[in-house]
Symmetry: C2
Subunit: 342 residues, 2 copies
DNA sequence: ATTTGTTCCGTTAACGTTAACGGTAATAAA
DNA sequence: TTTATTACCGTTAACGTTAACGGAACAAAT
């Protein structure tokens, strides 16, 4: 890399120095036919010496292929998302695709803005982790058959590719486990109730209760309203304190995710509860740290890496499909109960 | 967004429909002077209807400003890095800069490749977290005064902007704490010894020993060779098992980072050691989870967010500097001992 | 009436790269 | 010798956008 007054060397500069046409230089750099071996190596040498670096913008503008996808998630530092992202990254690298990742922080306006930026950058497709109540921003994309795959959430109404976990089964298994362990009063701590993950897990919760003949009580479902990204732990902690202050009774808690469970466990321990003797706790996701905390967290294992890996595969299929089909693919990933000590 | 046979609408298409020149459309879209209000709104309406999305590649090629920086780290899912990244992201958003992030996984070849890609994408500057033994790949960048800031590591030899923690102080405080707590045999578990972080912390370790009159023993420093990203916990765990099998005696362990400490604590607990009664453990970084594990981890707090935030500021200064100066900035961040229960 | 200025829009060229086409010289085939 | 073939390279134009310049039309000032 060399620059003259912070301007990069162009193909034209090389051509001039080598005494050939710009196109010949292009031929040499892209190892195309129609060029002699001698001039080719001579040009490559000069290019090397001059510190030539291809201008991706010119190339892409000309060729119209970016080999880039966009990924929009709410918080890539969240262990769940970062694990899924690894799957995406792996799959993308295998197909030699670039990734532009953006963190919406769960804010709809950011999501809108990011989508616009990604389209301006002519990404071939988008992987979106829906986190909002509204999906207006992607309505047109779907309508126009722009390659897009929704990850981790299910949107019934639309005809769009999706990959997500069997949330009902997860909620069911978690709750059933608590009930069969002897818990009589099982609370559920969840966040927003407008997405398929929360709703599915809640449905599983109800299903398990019903199966065991336990009446469902609205008050046992605790909603954490709009958890600011990075504050799930705090939200779980606060909810327990709130419940204790309200003198509510419980001997089992099913948490929307592991991070909330961490906060729950912290609050319980600080208030003298033994886990699992006094209160049993079940999390969701099975992120790395869940086997490191004390007690080790019983949780629902989600196939995070697979979710990311498969999501890219689905998107790739869309991108490389000859014609845009009207039918969409929905992939459901199985979940698993991991019994530990909580 | 609308496309005709997966081709986007161009400014020319709009011009044709509106019966004006392409340049007039450009004027309307970029709200420049030299255009009447009536035609402007008319064009904007048509553009809206046709679903126009600006082609960033054409704009950038013409204007030559990308407002983009590249960030290369080894593993953005590592809590330490993701925290630093948040600082970068915040600062970048404030200046309306885009970020291209790449995970090298600590592999030199990846780093080389990524730098090339970033240059092709004409980033205005690069934030690099050096993880390798060799720095050859950035030598030319530095020589050519390409805006670059090294984050988290110190490279003495070169004249390059750097921001890093006071590693010697961190290692010193951690070790001193263990010694003053009464530990007689303090081990240190670290990783590669060729970067400034490891070396600095080791120097601090030695300094504290010396100050307390404890002889330094080479065997007390345990090296984890080439920890694969994401396996720090396992590495710490393995080292303790190894030490126990070797019948080594110790009552204090200073870990290179919190993740290693987690593994150390897990191994100790599994083998019946009480923490901190039998063995005291001190980590490094103070990532979020360190106050959630049992026992809560005593550690050295590093200003992660600030590191990222400041790193961008330094890079921004370089980018916007009128002329490339030969002098470089080195910023050292203070560290802090957080005493908890380990 | 002439000059000056202003408003608004079109024309041209350029950013860096590359595909399509054409042309020249040398070589092989007739 | 003539023709066809091949190897190699240059010319031109285009990708989508925008800066620089120019010019027409009209209003205001002299």
């Amino acid at each position: 890399m060399k620059r003259i007054q912070s301007k990069f060397v162009t193909i034209k500069d090389i051509a001039e120095k080598a005494g050939v046409s710009p196109n010949t230089v292009s031929r040499a750099l892209n190892s195309r036919p129609d060029i002699s071996q001698s001039t080719k190596s001579r040009i490559l040498k000069i290019a090397q010496e001059m510190g030539y670096v291809r201008n991706a913008y010119a190339t892409i503008l000309k060729s119209n292929v970016t080999n880039t996808i966009g990924v929009i998630m709410s918080d890539s530092s969240n262990p769940f998302f970062s694990e899924v992202f690894k799957g995406i990254d792996k799959a993308a690298q295998e197909k030699d695709y670039q990734i532009i990742i953006m963190n919406s922080e769960g804010v709809y306006e950011n999501e809108e803005r990011f989508i616009k930026t990604l389209l301006e950058r002519r990404v071939d497709g988008i992987l979106l982790f829906p986190m909002q109540e509204s999906y207006e921003d992607i309505r047109e994309l779907v309508k126009e058959h722009f390659p897009i795959v929704l990850v981790g959430r299910e949107i019934d109404e639309w005809n769009v590719d999706e990959i997500f976990s069997d949330e009902v089964k997860g909620g069911y298994m978690a709750t059933k486990y608590l009930l069969e362990k002897g818990c009589k009063k099982v609370k559920m701590i969840t966040d927003q109730l407008y997405n398929s993950a929360s709703l599915g897990r809640l449905e599983g919760y109800r299903k398990a209760l019903q199966e065991k003949g336990v009446p469902f009580c609205e008050e046992n479902v605790k909603l954490c309203h709009h958890i600011h990204e990075g504050y799930h732990v705090q939200a779980g902690y606060d909810k327990v304190i709130e419940m204790l202050q309200g003198k509510e009774e419980f001997d089992g808690i099913f948490c929307y995710n592991d991070l909330i469970a961490y906060g729950v466990i912290k609050a319980l321990k600080e208030n003298g509860f033994r886990i699992p003797e006094d209160v049993s706790v079940v999390g969701y996701d099975d992120i790395t740290f869940s086997r490191l905390i004390e007690p080790q967290l019983t949780t629902i294992k989600v196939k995070k890496f697979e979710m990311g890996y498969e999501a890219f595969q689905m998107l790739y299929k869309r991108i490389t499909a000859k014609k845009s089909s009207n039918s969409s693919t929905r992939k459901v990933l199985d979940v698993e109960l991991i019994v530990r000590n909580s």
